[in-house]
Point group: C2
Chain length 460, copies 2
Amino acid sequence: MSDIAPVLDQLDRSIDQSLERLFHLLKIKSISTDPAFAGDCRKAAEWLVEDLKTIGFEASVRDTAGHPMVVAHHDGEGPHVLFYGHYDVQPVDPLNLWENDPFDPSVKEIEPGRKAIIGRGSSDDKGQLMTFVEACRAYKAVHGKLPCRITILFEGEEESGSPSLRPFLEENRAELSADYALVCDTAMWDPETPAVCVGLRGLVGEEITIKAADRDLHSGFFGGAAANPITVLARILGDLHDENGRITVPGFYEGVEETPADILKSWEGLGETTENFLGPIGLSKLFGEKDRSALELVWARPTAEVNGITGGYTGEGFKTVIPAEASAKVSFRLVHRQDPDKIRTAFRKFVEERLPSDCRVEFHPHGGSPAFQLDYDMPLVTKAQGALSDEWPKPAVAIAMGGSIPIAGEFRRMLDMETLLVGFGLQDDRIHSPNEKYDLNSFHRGQRSWVRILDALSGQ
Amino acid sequence: MSDIAPVLDQLDRSIDQSLERLFHLLKIKSISTDPAFAGDCRKAAEWLVEDLKTIGFEASVRDTAGHPMVVAHHDGEGPHVLFYGHYDVQPVDPLNLWENDPFDPSVKEIEPGRKAIIGRGSSDDKGQLMTFVEACRAYKAVHGKLPCRITILFEGEEESGSPSLRPFLEENRAELSADYALVCDTAMWDPETPAVCVGLRGLVGEEITIKAADRDLHSGFFGGAAANPITVLARILGDLHDENGRITVPGFYEGVEETPADILKSWEGLGETTENFLGPIGLSKLFGEKDRSALELVWARPTAEVNGITGGYTGEGFKTVIPAEASAKVSFRLVHRQDPDKIRTAFRKFVEERLPSDCRVEFHPHGGSPAFQLDYDMPLVTKAQGALSDEWPKPAVAIAMGGSIPIAGEFRRMLDMETLLVGFGLQDDRIHSPNEKYDLNSFHRGQRSWVRILDALSGQ
């Protein structure tokens, strides 16, 4: 470990210069979904390469079938880390809702004592990725070296589904493999509480279609005698949970672990009551497994949800039809070590066992991915938590997320390394929306946080 | 009772003349749904009035807000009967599927020894109503009088929802009230077995919408914690039947009677096996209440069917949404003395009791009508059965129908009289379709049947 105090001082002194560099990047209209901005995407990649070179990275723009990647390397002692971010941004429509030109960034006081950088990409993800770049720059300036061996990967297609990412990881497996990955694309728990995201739920999507008669029937002629596929489907879906909200598919909970008591306690400490969680969407009662908090339910418990259902006559008025078929889209959120393939198979069996002998079922898979889960006590996590706790007013919390960030799964699957997800976004950053912002505090303390984290990891 | 043998002889002798009269009526393009044929509808009414006058009826065209009614009266001793039929017909599209001009009727041998009248309206309902008119004509010719006091009501809007019928019955209640009504708009059981329809199921339609959160939710952020209205709806609908196929709504079976053993036995004798009933629609197992035959299920048992369901994302692919609402269209077929209002109320309570405290439900009624049911042993039924059994190769059977013929309910409700539904249509008549036909045998023996029925009723 080196002395980090002068590095933090250097960051404090150079905040204006770091802002200036960020503004350069923010002004480039690198909207990845719109082909009209392909040139701007390349410009953003080229700007990053030039900037990384000034720090001493060996950096290059790397072509793909889509927008280019930026890959950069810097020698160092200690562990080898891969830092990931993305330089592409979301479209800016509706433009009329922006208070300023989305590509003419500025710093504004958004409430007394709180300043923010306004502009498209300020939070997602240009501002976030630059916190890491600035941390490296300051460290190098002070110590003439970096605390770890660092590889950087910046993607330009994150906002359009990352079509080139897998092939690129595949082709450059050796170059990009490191001891672990660092990703800066997530949020803090609140403006005073930093967070390490250690869990992301996986997903299994499955469409089921129940078929009965070979045509639509008149319910007067056949009602009461012929199988009704909507009724069959309703019975199956109504059977998916028991009276305690647990999912009844046999074997479903295989691989699900109970969350450690101290972690549950730290989540309780976050003050996210049921009322806080459900109130804003007009609800008041938790619906899933009994006797678990809202945060545990969405962060650490698996689900079975019906996302869509259709069958028979659904237009205006009424039609006394018994339809030939009815279908539903069902998804399962997975946690811990649940196996997507096993769960798909178990669900299909569950459906088939409930099918009247006269009916048939067709299954159509819609993707499956396992959950991402780090051990709460692994050194990567605890060191990062310690480093973050040193920087921010409140101790860092290990959280999870109900949704998915595919990159973490890809790094594990393709490059066999774990990913540390740390970010400094806030809930009110309006990412993907007009007037996106990034707190100046996030930008500045984010830089300082990375210095502390790299320093902590270098001591591994 | 008079001597009917010479009347039957008269019908046998005059079959060519009666066919000629029917052809006149069939040539009139009285399509009630198309305003372009309004003049033809009136022409059909006028032709009927003139024809009834030749028999001695006091007949007139009676204007309504839509197409006119025909009302005719003839004195007679014995009971007063109201005969109902409709002179309007279905459109003829697709015209290219007709082998002949739909309004240029002809008699053809459709299989060895089987002749049929081909043309739009031949079975539904011009051919059927003329069986009654010809019976009256022959009776009058032979005996100089009719066996009963007869009122005739011909409607011109049956194929377009009968919008003027209720107001007309209301305004002419005294004139149209009789001891009972006779309707000739139904079918025989098979070409050798005549039928009296004594039961028609009623209907209650209800749309329910379950609402949970005040917006669509991302299942990653809220899945497992927020109420899913599709799941709530599925549980309710899946709960509508018990494991024996009985409907679980409290009080639902109030007013439902067990069908008499001898009636069930006569239905068994019809040879309608489960295989015959379900095979043509690709099914093999009865789905409703256990241990009842297909005919009993659709003729004499009530149902709860989901006719439509929708919620969440139903397009191509997948969307991990928890929708704000989900809805279903549910209908109940009623039998015997079930009360539509009570059943609607009981169902709503059933839904509300299963609603999580967080969810709301909205109900939207879609009509309700009680079942029509005659006592199987009432003289009107048994006399008609006896008369029909004398005419046809096999004894007449008292059947029911799963669907509805609103006129029978209207006569009971508005004119306080029961309705005898007897018709000579056959399953292969292709009513509402191209190449509609009516067996010559139906037309001829239908006439003879009405002579026998009127004679039997006159002895009441």
